[in-house]
Symmetry: C2
């Protein structure tokens, strides 16, 4: 499995990926799932991949040389000369379709689904930052202010904290922290997601970044997050009062067949209200 997240903020972009792949729990390996495409001052793009590893590796391989021929364009569009992230993403979509044409039938004959999920984001000089999610069919959607992040792979465990924290106004380091907490929750609940983690933080309109880091379990910051988040979460949980069982009954009936009779319902309320 895999967990990758890409976040688009007013201040910039944050990308985080794990590096564990598995073909069954008895076959766990480490593969990096992030690639940075950078032409300093001109374009900065990051690709995160999940799904069938042979497909995503093939896509990454041919993306470098993929050419999108358009009648109204003098020369073919590549990720290196595209004038918009949208066009660059179309090149990526075409790369996915080329791998499909090449491999899908054989995969199907082997009973393997053609499954790849990609997050592709960045900025090209002349336009703002953009973030896309690309599907197995080569089609894609773009992140908006209402939905400023994409996740691929094992996304559910790590989604609640993103939903609670991330808005377009979130600052970059805070978003990086949030992505790492999201990764930590995912890693805790799914064995097939694991370190090292690749983190890239891009500041708007820089067209390059030096904030690229590989984080393993020895990383002091991630260790602090891992321990601190778990421990403080527990403290918060303990700080919330337990329910108090009220002797009065609610109206709502619980549909029950307990020996054929209906069950009376108690109320639960808060200690402080009992004291009033």
């Amino acid at each position: 499995m895999t967990y990758c997240v890409g976040i688009k903020l007013n201040a910039g972009l944050v990308f985080l990926s794990d590096s564990r792949t598995n073909a069954g729990v008895d076959n766990i390996s480490v593969y990096r799932k992030m690639i940075v495409y950078e032409k300093a001052g001109d374009r900065f793009m990051v690709l995160l991949s999940a799904g069938n590893l042979s497909i995503s590796q093939s896509v990454r391989e041919i993306l470098q040389v993929e050419q999108l021929k358009e009648p109204n364009h003098p020369e073919p569009i590549t990720i290196w000369n595209a004038t918009s992230m949208f066009d660059a993403c179309r090149v990526l979509g075409q790369a996915v379709r080329h791998v499909y044409d090449r491999d899908a039938e054989s995969l199907k004959n082997a009973g393997v689904e053609f499954n790849v999920n990609l997050i592709f984001g960045g900025q090209i000089a002349g336009e703002g930052m953009r973030l896309f999610q690309v599907y197995s069919a080569g089609n894609f959607i773009e992140a908006t202010a209402e939905t400023p992040y994409f996740q691929i792979g094992e996304y559910k465990y790590g989604k609640p904290v993103l939903d609670r924290v991330i808005t377009p106004d979130t600052d970059l380091d805070e978003a990086a922290k949030c992505a790492l907490v999201s990764m930590d929750s995912t890693m805790k609940s799914n064995l097939s997601v694991g370190p090292p983690f690749d983190l890239v933080v891009y500041e708007a309109n820089r067209f390059q970044t030096d904030k690229v880091v590989c984080i393993d379990m020895q990383n002091p910051y991630f260790r602090m997050l891992h321990q601190g988040w778990g421990q403080k979460l527990r403290e918060v949980f303990d700080s919330l009062e337990d329910p108090v069982w009220d002797e009065s009954h609610t109206e709502t009936p619980l549909r029950t067949q307990a020996g054929g009779r209906a069950k009376p319902l108690k109320k639960i309320s808060r200690a402080e209200e009992k004291l009033i």
Copy 2:
């Protein structure tokens, strides 16, 4: 969708279920997914169901009258005369198989998978409390001290908090609180899980309970949890320091094709360490 959780503690059992079903987002309904079977002083059992509603309702219907005939038993085993939760669960498994025999082929012809998931737990006089998860095939597994809870339906969003809090020594009200926080996280991230919620708390060796409650969004305790957990989670998040980007570089290379050159990696560390 559905989210149900059953927890087995030394002190007793906790059961929580949502009440939302959907046949597509344009067809959302409220169905209770919990039934309590109680013969005061003799047995107390709770059934939670997820999956295809027509299947789970049929199972619940026939479970009342289901009989397991055994050569070495003078009279057929039912959930009302079973001498162990294990036998009661076998009766439930047989009920699932009867519904399978009745409906599976027609469902298959209609392209519908025979899909039902059940949590069944309780206590019968003469033995300790037991908690089971029953699958579509009518087979089942039992909770242990290492894995003291079961979830069915949309389980992922709500799993991290259970993993962090629940142990066999957790007390009942704390476990009820944990189940409700788990439900709150699930509800927040999945539209198809919603109130009202049915909560049952059973104390060991009581063979009955009056702690049965239906919780809607007006419930003052759940409202407090819903707001308090979200707000305090945010405070904890804010209390964790942001990463500090260190000028020194790590050894680990990030596999990258950024314009063909390898990308140097920074370190992230903790503010306090920078100060040392």
